[in-house]
Symmetry: C3
Subunit: 466 residues, 3 copies
């Protein structure tokens, strides 16, 4: 199966089978890092970093060079063309005509999608704000799979900043897809955003058991626990009794503890984040001495600050430097696939594991905007050409998810273009939680954020507007 000319913007751009195929290729790369120099000879990677990053960028560049390719690189681009007021779409089109593949990191959520939409060549998201960082997730999954042979049925604890840490969002989705149980242990003030929880449940069909239902188990735990996500395939899951399953899960050992740094860059935005810090335990030999952690893989996307002690560095459970070093073969495999110089064999079984949800797309200009201030669709330079666009992921309550940044909004009023276009006398709008929302055919749906906007477009309130 060829992945040629595709982009990797979110981890969901690859199916489970494709990820497994990529991992097989990464094994080949890791087996002979120095022997792959013919594969991408003559190809150019444009490495565009609008946010500082040494590790990720060097890892991509080393991967391209090990493949015999070359790199043109723009670091801290914020200071250059952005300062001139250029849109990222223009930049993408131009750089797309210079290079064969683009790697981009950008502070705006959804920026990588815009670049992929315009570049005309494969684009890899190397982190877009607090949104996703899919190649980090590939390295994480690859490390877990190498050490534990598979991912299905494992129990993985996520620890630290689960709010701004884009790496954990991509990872949580991927773990859910591969059938792992996920324990969420956020630092106070850095809890998982609700839209991430909702996506886990609606997209991957698992059960989420929240803190409140975990009372007793929590007492036995070593550190704050927010929620447990269990996939449908979880062996412990008892029909209708997810709380019991969750409590069973908590009593046995953890397969991996994924520690993350509190990102000081984004902390300013987190109210109360400071307060919780002191009580939050450092991950060190002492914390991990219990039987429960005997075989636990200690993971970290790096860089670390104080949340993970240096006394773990020589511990055989510590995987974080291995994770980092596997960045090169994993990215080598990815680059080869997107450039079409290699193909993957995808087993039917793995593809059938999960059918991706597909939702109606809403892109009418009815005044809706993504509620996320750092979404690419809300930026001055980008608003000029980006039309807000959403997926209708739920009807009750009516919920739209931004196609750029995955943030959700629940508009308050609906109408149908059927009536609008056909019978003008019945051009009315309704409350979004009325029965009409279900009745309107998706392609006819019009949604409004406010009555003012609905009226401005010529609609009158129906009797269903409270």
């Amino acid at each position: 199966m060829s992945l040629a000319n595709r982009s990797l913007v979110t981890i969901d751009d690859l199916s489970n089978g494709e990820i497994e195929g990529l991992f097989s290729l990464a094994d080949v790369m890791a087996g002979s890092l120095a022997g792959q120099r013919e594969l991408c000879c003559g190809k150019i990677m444009a490495s565009l970093f609008f946010e500082p990053s040494t590790r990720t960028r060097l890892s991509f560049e080393a991967a391209m060079i090990r493949l015999g390719g070359q790199v043109i690189s723009a670091v801290d681009v914020g200071a250059t063309s952005l300062a001139k007021g250029e849109s990222i779409a223009d930049m993408a089109r131009v750089v797309g005509s210079y290079a064969d593949i683009v790697v981009i990191r950008h502070p705006w959520e959804g920026a990588a999608k815009v670049v992929a939409d315009y570049a005309g060549i494969p684009v890899v998201n190397a982190g877009d704000g607090g949104h996703e960082h899919p190649t980090q997730t590939l390295c994480d999954l690859y490390t877990i799979k190498k050490e534990r042979k598979g991912i299905k049925g494992l129990k993985i604890a996520l620890w630290g900043d689960l709010k701004y840490g884009r790496t954990v969002h991509s990872l949580a989705y991927a773990l859910a897809r591969f059938g792992a149980t996920v324990l969420f242990h956020p630092r106070r003030g850095f809890e998982v955003p609700e839209h991430v929880f909702r996506k886990l449940v609606t997209e991957y069909d698992g059960e989420l058991v929240r803190y409140e239902a975990l009372g007793q188990a929590l007492e036995e735990g070593l550190f704050p626990l927010d929620a447990v996500y269990m996939t449908p395939s979880s062996p412990h899951q008892l029909a209708m009794m997810p709380e019991i399953s969750a409590q069973v899960e908590l009593k046995t050992g953890v397969d991996a503890l994924y520690v993350t740094r509190v990102q000081k860059e984004r902390q300013a935005a987190a109210a109360g984040g400071q307060g919780g810090e002191k009580r939050y335990p450092v991950v060190n030999k002492r914390l991990l001495r219990g039987k429960k952690f005997q075989r636990t893989l200690i993971m970290h996307p790096l860089p670390r600050v104080d949340e993970l002690a240096f006394d773990m560095d020589e511990d055989p459970r510590s995987m974080y430097f291995k994770q980092a070093s596997q960045g090169v073969p994993v990215r080598m495999a990815l680059i080869c696939l997107l450039l079409g110089v290699k193909e993957v064999t995808v087993s039917e079984e793995s593809e059938s594991m999960l059918q991706r949800k597909s939702y109606p797309v809403y892109e009418r200009d009815s005044g809706l905007r993504c509620p996320n201030a750092t979404c690419v669709s809300n930026q001055e330079t980008e608003k000029r050409y980006i039309k807000p666009k959403f997926r209708v992921v739920r009807l009750k309550p009516l919920t739209l998810r931004c196609v750029y940044c995955d943030h959700e909004l629940q508009p308050r009023f609906v109408a149908s273009s059927d009536w609008h276009e056909g019978k003008l006398e019945s051009k009315k709008y309704h409350s979004a939680d009325s029965r009409w929302t279900r009745d309107i055919r998706p392609e006819k749906l019009i949604v409004f954020d406010s009555e003012e906007r609905a009226k401005a477009e010529g609609f009158r309130p129906s009797s269903y507007v409270r």
Copy 2:
């Protein structure tokens, strides 16, 4: 014909025939971008950017890499060696010993010439302040030529910032040389500098018709017009009646509209620039819907901000992304020629099209300084070794043009070294607009900015000093 070991500092460093030869080679490069990897194998380009630029730099670097060469690159160098007070001549000599070719962008006008003077290897000017940006001009000309088969007799409108936009200065000179008619449509406060107009007339022998003479034609025009430049070869030109010709020109369609961004970086210096902005029209589908623009190529050096609407992006007349993409093959051709790995065949006919003017050079130390504050010859770190140097381009009024930045000055007093060296009793200075200016042999000419200076050098006023 070999261009090996030459530099490209201004567009005038290449003859028309050489430019045409370069374009033929660019056609070959464009025909097989990926097939040129043997040409510059083992060669190193030093890419030195003292001002932010992503597009131009990446285009040069991609070109070098497509040729099989390698790049060493210093971005935002201002923060490094300049901070240490080093001269650019020293930097040029050192980097010249590391690399095979240098590409430089610098905020000081004339900086590229200094680097070319000292590096000992070919140097390409990638933009020196508001002075020139000759490779952008090559890409512009190449695009026009590809689309219209030739340049002679075309009518090209320049639009936007014609004051600080270095790209339009190089382009106007080149268009004049190739025999195009040029219409100047500046945004208010961003008019073409007088020295550029003067150079057009004195150097390329065309006629310049100014705004005042265009009254009626202007009314019919769609946007503000400042002047029209017509080459001697212009078919419409009637002897002694350039105004009539210009009016005829304005009634027919425009072959290309070259839009430029107002450079916010340099705007601070432009008095009144702000005021004109509101009334200046945006270039969009609506503005260009008339018959006059039916076949007009819409060009832009990019990045754009608001002056060129996104609704033009899919329009077949829009050339700006094509312009950008042609940056790679054009620069590949240039690099090959300057490194001497390719040669051009120059037809006699094209070479005879234009004889370059040659002027006497003035480099006596008589206290003259270039009047341009951003000229390289006026910078603290460079004054220590750069001697001011001028071309005597006109005698009435006596006009000297800085060899570094092309800015002009008109000194007030003259003397002759003949008398000085021979008969001391007649060591006198004269008014520059007296008949003596013509009588002094160029190699004997001494000019002074002030009587004080002339006296300080031991001269006495002649009766010709008013």
Copy 3:
């Protein structure tokens, strides 16, 4: 002899014989810069610059590329991972898994040693604060050797900033080792640090004659002289009469004058540096017109500011641009050796020239810290894992030298772990200048900075504590 997998952190990491072998290889490289493209094919250099530098970085990168290798490069890294609070050890481990060799410049003294300790691949110090810059020294020595055939017995004057100029520290050590006489001519406020003088005397066995003893000779000199260092092999040295020898040395010509720039970056820290500047002479043709300088090589590590006049640039004695250009072949040779693709033949004679001193290492945690505020061991992010570590270089007065930055400290109290571990009743501490200091076996030595600390560790004052 293979240097494979070794690092170059200080110039003392290479023996004299190894340096001579490296120079022979540099001759080969210089003979055919373009013919070495097979040597490092497929190898990656990570070029990590935490401080601005164009020259040194481009020189390393050009060297790697001339060898057929590739570069991944992070410039001004201070703004990136350091901002996230990451330790340089973590960075070293990660980048060490991407690349085959690391080149690092860092503002902290000793940083390169830490990177070498953790990277797992060869590391080259491209300047660590005011500490060392060994590859610059290699270029300097290579230049001198090429011009004068050898170094032994030459007389080299060091000029300018001898305090913060890391290049002169490495150079002084190397000159001492190769048997040259070194004259120190510091700008006032920029004198050689005492620990450098001490290292010269204790490590390389020469004699240092200070200013006070040079009275008369000084009068005849052209510029301020601080001290003269004469190696044991100096032919003029008369037993017990180093002052006389020094005066003899001063009367004859200087073989090389090594000029350095006052580093404005570090000047803020230098009290009184400003005052001396005006009186300090500029090195120019006028200063160097005497017979004494007839054959003097004029050297400078560049960049220069005002201390070395442009009128010297075309002078045949001027070596500074040659020095810079030799940076490429010298670094090519070094890279080849550390990557193990070439070996050196070391003559027995040159190896026997100097036996390196070896000192006992002190690494007990007894509260000692390096006194140098910019030492890597004193930085917030690094203290978490770096244990202070010293060499005991002298007993009277007891002197410890930091293994990271070579700064020295003289602790005030000593004790023995013998007593501590054996007979608790005699757990006492003594004055460092008492006879006990000599009596304690090095591996049993405990040193304290203060009585408080000694008491805190359970020791009581002995009768030898005054």
